[in-house]
Symmetry: C3
């Protein structure tokens, strides 16, 4: 049996990192991926995928010359029931918005 | 039970966006991801993932100084049977080719 | 039933491409994705996903002006039992390190 953890798509500009927390419904291996797009912003950003307050993986976007650039990464994780996963903007800001950003997770393999 | 929607890998330079349409074999949650690589092309491209003629997510590649750059994104989607998914080049062109581009989708969770 | 092929996360700087080989435990369709991050390195890198010594997909990172940039791609593959999958640095080097790189694979659909 496969459980879907959550589906989250950000079409508009209203993505709230802090409010977007996955909570694992059961023990298992989960797949997570994210693409955080910075818009009209020359700063370097660092986005961390957090697991219960600890950073697991990071992604970067630091190009000076493009209007939109994604900080992307993905990972498989062994989670316990009620473990929490969320994105944290570790460096930089998203003043220009982050339209088109996505954050997805699903259960691959229950344990 | 898990259904694989389709497997599509573009090793060569013969990827045809319009001809590459996923059609959902059944209702469920599907995972889609794409990496569209532009080659020797200074234009900014925007690639949309289309769901029955509606754009769901977008990705961008706009760097002026690199010979190959990918516009990447991914998403989980709730599809009905026979829903159609495909990539659309919303902006720019792929005159230099898009060798190494990939587009993948599979059923995560039947409903 | 779903089998997880392997979980591999590189938090530190000790990722060894050559030693990180997935071997398929059974016949089926597998999903693979990788994000290889080059750090403080102006060279263009090309990373290949290898399937039993043959390149399947490639990814590139070639920006001159950023301190960290990822070469990312992903694919669904039909594997036979004991097929081997690994990453190969086809071009460039990773002298500055590749902290934050990830390589993930799991069985989507047994055959």
């Amino acid at each position: 049996m496969i459980f879907l953890l959550q589906v989250l798509v950000n079409i508009g500009n209203h993505f709230d990192l802090k409010a977007s927390v996955f909570q694992a419904p059961r023990r298992g291996i989960y797949s997570f991926s994210f693409h955080v797009v910075k818009v009209y912003n020359r700063q370097t950003i660092q986005v961390n995928l957090m697991h219960n307050e600890y950073p697991i993986i990071s992604a970067f976007a630091g190009d000076q010359d493009v209007t939109r650039e994604a900080a992307s990464n993905g990972v498989l994780l062994h989670l316990e029931r009620e473990d929490r996963l969320y994105l944290k903007l570790e460096r930089g800001n998203l003043m220009g918005g982050w339209k088109y950003s996505t954050f997805s997770g699903f259960l691959v393999f229950p344990l």
